[in-house]
Amino acid sequence: MSQIASICRALDFVEANLREEIAVADMADAAGYSLYHFCRMFNGLVHHTPYDYLMRRRLSESARELVETDKRVIDIAFDYRFNSPETYSRAFKRMFGTQPSQWKEHGRLDRRFLMSQLTREHLEHINEGDGLWPVLEERSAFRVVGVMTLVENGGEVIARLWDVLAQELKDVEDAECYGITWYPTGWEESGVFYMAGIEVEATDSASPALVVKSIPPLKCARFIHRGSRGDLQLTLDYVYQTWLPKSGERLSYPLEIVSYGTDMSAAWRNAELEVYIPIA
């Protein structure tokens, strides 16, 4: 059995036992490894220690319950096997930067930062190459013209935007294509702003059908996404849920800039994308 398959059995075991009293040694048993070897393999493939992953999954599910149910904080803390409400609050604050009670009152479920249930696809993606080791760089200001809309459920609307853009910019060649996502507060309910556009020097000749967006100079972490556009979420999950907490970096804007290369017709299918995440 491959190492990834073994580790996946431990991940499945975690999902089945989020509210049970389980130890890292039980995860190792589920994977069929000795504890010591398991810890070595797990972090090598998942980029979290087994205990950290277990805690993050518990805290993320508990965060969901805090917002979506009427349960009391103390009951949720015990449900997810925290010894006391204080231990729970401390762990919660470490992960989300806020107390569970405040989260319950004002909390929005920003899915980006909740630890996803990792799957075989995630593990294969994480271990495919070195694209998820980011390069930190200063991007100078640039301007993009294109089309933008509020997107609630991704996929189809975004594909349609690129079609519209391709029609409007039939004669343009060799311009860098960008997909820019802005997460407004409350985006889980309202949706995100997505812009499909190309980089331009001057904007005075832009068609009135298009909008212009100015991006200020930004300090960014640049990741390479390998795989289809449909798998981009795997890279984004890694960025927000694994890299961000491990690196200690903070986001400066709720913004993602994805560079698709210069061939607009192929942009959508490009198998290697650059993802820029603005950091403080």
Partner: protein, 168 residues
């Protein structure tokens, strides 16, 4: 894989220690985890201070000891890892070094070759060999004993490593 059984008196080591998840920063066999960091500290210390510790004994074997059985071992994957050298006395041990005394005990000694070194040999020893051997684990630690037969991870195929498992 059949072990040799040997009897050993108290083993006194001096070296460096880590407690926690040794792989918290990096898994796999890179040097960027706590085990790799211990070895770097150990090598650097001996290169620099070999003369100051000469009087303690001249053993040239390097010990990596994994100590489990703490409350957080099963729950969180925390171990003590100790990397050091055997000594014959502990007079004037420099303050930078820790002393670790391993009790007199019987050991099952397994010699790992090549790829076996990076395999899950603890499972093979504790879950497969031990239950059928008529022995049981005597202490919550095991020793990886490095000598000139270990040629480095980059020459794994030509390397050998002895594992000492305390039994009774």
């Amino acid at each position: 894989m059949e072990p040799k059984i040997v009897e050993k008196g108290r083993i006194i080591l001096v070296g460096f220690s880590f407690y926690g998840d040794p792989f918290a920063e990096s898994g796999g066999w890179t040097e960027e985890n706590e085990v790799g960091r211990l070895w770097r500290r150990f090598m650097a210390y001996w290169a620099e201070n070999g003369d100051r510790v000469k009087h303690l004994g001249d053993g040239d074997l390097a010990y990596e000891v994994h100590i489990g059985g703490y409350e957080e071992t099963a729950s969180m994957g925390h171990y003590e890892v100790f990397v050091g050298r055997e000594v014959t006395e502990i007079e004037d041990v420099p303050v930078h070094l820790l002393v670790k005394a391993l009790p007199p005990t019987r050991y099952a000694v397994f010699t790992l070759q090549g790829e076996q070194i990076t395999s899950d040999w603890p499972r093979m020893i504790y879950d497969e060999w031990l239950p059928g051997s008529g022995n049981e684990s005597a202490h919550d630690y095991l020793i990886e004993l490095y000598d000139q037969r270990f040629k480095g991870l980059e020459n794994l195929a030509e390397s050998e490593l002895d594992i000492y498992v305390p039994i009774r």
